[in-house]
Symmetry: C2
């Protein structure tokens, strides 16, 4: 039946409408979406006005997006969906470094930089060195690994949030690990900051009495041939909000102390004044187990 449908019969009818979907994976996803979405609607039994509010909210969320702002990722983040997707895709790699959310600010390419370079030349604040090794799960170094990093300045803003104040690329860098799998760069110690609150997601947090803050962190994406790409953070150990991240993304294994290194020779090697603050994280990559499946390409079609 496809007429005279109501709460008890609509779900089967909508699922049936997808029965000729050529791509099996897309069909599975839409069937599951229909069941769960309809289950939600049946459970809360929205008034017409509430449905209109939901339509308005989703529309405003889409319209807030532009080249440097991704409000739907922010919504996914504050609803815990981003972290769930990350951890689901991380479950098979317990020996590797934990992953965490991508966040909404990986929207521009990081400038290629040489090891030791300052990623935050336009940022004031406490100078620091961030360093570590890229390793396999067997402890072998991964020379040539590509390390993409990005962070906010000490005011809590990414480059793309402050046109005219920060140049694109400030707070970002793309590095290549050396022959020992080591990486090191200069920056400023990042600060905790609020996620953008001037859009629908900010209104949602406000209406639910939730704070918008994320603990201080530096983003990493690490990639190397033969390994699974890793998206993660290093969190600054003594930051506020470590235990109440607005996007549920803290893993304690990623919280690292930023401590003072008194060694004048190390300071000279990193070309910073002595003593200096440093954060150290070794990043362990898991071997690539999976290739992109064909359905990834097919489902992507529908977004065009």
């Amino acid at each position: 039946m496809t007429t005279d449908l109501g709460p008890e019969t609509l779900t089967a009818a909508v699922i049936d409408s997808f029965k000729n979907t050529p791509d099996e994976r897309l069909k599975t996803v839409l069937e599951s979406l229909t069941r769960h979405l309809h289950g939600f609607v049946r459970e809360v039994a929205p008034s017409i006005e509430e449905w209109e509010t939901a339509i308005d909210f989703l529309t405003a969320t889409g319209q807030k997006c532009d080249d440097v702002r991704q409000e739907f990722i922010l919504l996914s983040d504050v609803l815990g969906v981003s972290m769930m997707v990350e951890t689901i895709n991380d479950e098979e790699t317990p020996d590797a470094t934990d992953s965490t959310v991508l966040g909404p600010f990986h929207m521009v390419e990081s400038p290629e930089r040489t090891l030791g370079e300052n990623i935050s030349p336009e940022s004031e604040g406490e100078v620091c060195v961030v360093r570590g090794r890229i390793l396999s799960v067997t402890g072998d170094p991964v020379p040539g690994a590509r390390i993409d990093v990005w962070q906010a300045n000490t005011k809590g803003f990414y480059d793309v949030q402050q046109p005219g104040i920060q140049s694109i690329g400030n707070g970002r860098g793309l590095f290549t690990a050396d022959d020992n799998g080591e990486f090191f760069f200069r920056s400023v110690v990042p600060s905790y900051y609020p996620i953008p609150t001037d859009g629908p997601v900010g209104s949602l947090l406000n209406a639910t009495a939730r704070h918008p803050y994320r603990p201080a962190h530096i983003h990493f994406i690490v990639a190397a041939p033969g390994f699974k790409e890793l998206t993660t953070h290093i969190f600054v150990g003594d930051s506020d909000y470590i235990d109440s991240d607005a996007v549920f993304a803290v893993k304690h294994s990623l919280v690292k102390p930023f401590t003072t290194n008194p060694d004048p020779e190390a300071a000279a090697a990193f070309e910073v004044a002595s003593p200096f603050v440093e954060g150290v994280i070794d990043i362990v990559l898991h071997p690539a187990l999976h290739h992109r499946t064909p359905h990834d390409a097919t489902t992507k079609e529908i977004a065009r």
Copy 2:
């Protein structure tokens, strides 16, 4: 715990984050949303690429919306959500005329017209008269009821879809029922048509091998003091796609034959050539049982 969260623990943490929401209804809705949304994500276990596809799809859907296009309503329609919300809100009124979906084209005000006026002066096609009575469930007429109607032309386009070809207001009219609760107006017999397929929703239908067609219909919103507002359609009896409406909105009680009336006096009264085609629907309103609840206003805040 709000750190080291994974698929099994994130749902409780996100629900807990909403615990201080001042508005109880909003809290209930968000708790239910979190459970069902997380259930969907756990079940399909999307790859990172699939999650990105979903973000892109939702963003594109929001960005397709403008003053005369509402792609999120269209998405709600093709997923059967709009019809579910309508029928849930209709369950208490079995004696009244069935409701059906609002659709995405009620975006401009219908011009005030006098009974008998042609709502489609710019449309070619078969002239028809649409008429009926607005009644209470006890069969009493509802004089002064306000009847807002809108329809596509015989090419299948609403005024807002054809700037430069149709003026805003063509195919629309706002009427007031006479002292006998009667209404009547001239128009052209509408045609079945495809919902707009040039956006993300069209891509979704294409990817799922679903047709985009809706059977021929005229939209109605009927309102009168002391009665519950009714959103519905009259469907043209012999239209294609009556049994496979792309938005699941057909109720057989709303399907009416558009038949030839041979009475020359009736033709003269309606100022049309004889014989003429007419569609007749009596619309039964249910007494208003509910007032808008305070949470409608509060949840609306978050969309601003």
